[in-house]
Amino acid sequence: MQENDHSTIDSSRRQALKAGVGLGLFGMLATLGLLPKSAWAAVDRKVFEAKSLKEAFQAMGGLAPADSNLVILDVPETAENGAMVPITVESKFPRTEQISILVEKNPTALVENLTMAEGTEGFITTRIKMAQTSTVIALVKADGKFYKAVREVKVTAGGC
């Protein structure tokens, strides 16, 4: 659980320091666009390249999210069109800071990261692509800790 307390930002900074890259050089590379960096948020785009769930959790800062029944993941049992699978994630945790959606067997596991400001509810409905039958993971960050809910979706026609 200790690992969960670190934000992905802290972790990527730590990794950069570990790698012996000075902050000056790091900043310069980021400015030159040589580092994958999100346009607005301080999120490393590298997390979106992770090929497996394990890699994705690793890239997000070594997460080991606990299963929680306070995370409600609503997905169809069977999706006929993998290009457009409806999904709703609701977190019953009082202060939900982040909801992420991952698909274990997609070419890249992380689908999206959503950050909620104070006053924005821990609730999201969206549509995702699924390459094949897979488990779908709703990852929630609340009060600095990570939780998840997992469901399997059968995909009749893949959409990746």
């Binding site: 999100s38 346009a39 607005w40 948020a41 999120v43 785009r45 979106f48 290009a83 457009m84 699978v85 709703t88 698909v103 997609n106 070419p107 890249t108 992380l110 689908v111 999206e112 990261n113 959503l114 950050t115 909620m116 400001a117 006053g119 924005t120 509810e121 609730f123 999201i124 409905t125 969206t126 549509r127 995702i128 692509k129 699924m130 959409g159 990746c160």
Partner: protein
């Protein structure tokens, strides 16, 4: 030129529900066209929704978000007539911002 995001926001009982449909191909970079050539990745990487200049929700997308990304979310506050702005940027650097008044 990209098309405007379709957006609707309704305030009721102190909570505003926002529904947004961004208009974007969201190409994964893995699809082949009719001649068998790979279609380059082209997708929204970042978006945010703001209410009176305050960010309510922001996010990052990978390539597995469906074509024309759809979102429903809710926030406390907001009243009829308030402006909401949704901005996105894609991996080619294209950006756009669209506004809607809460109904």
């Amino acid at each position: 030129m990209s098309d405007p995001t379709k957006m609707k926001a309704v305030a009721a009982n102190g909570v505003t529900e926002v529904r947004a449909l961004m208009q974007h191909e969201m190409e994964t970079g893995r699809r082949k066209d009719e001649s068998g050539k790979l279609v380059p990745a082209w997708y929204i990487t970042d978006f945010k929704v703001q209410h009176n200049g305050r960010t309510l929700l922001e996010g990052q997308f990978g390539t597995s978000v469906s074509k024309n990304p759809f979102l429903v979310f809710r926030f406390k506050g907001g009243k009829a007539g308030d402006k909401l702005a949704l901005s996105w940027t894609d991996n080619r650097g294209e950006k756009r911002t669209d506004e809607v008044a809460i109904g």
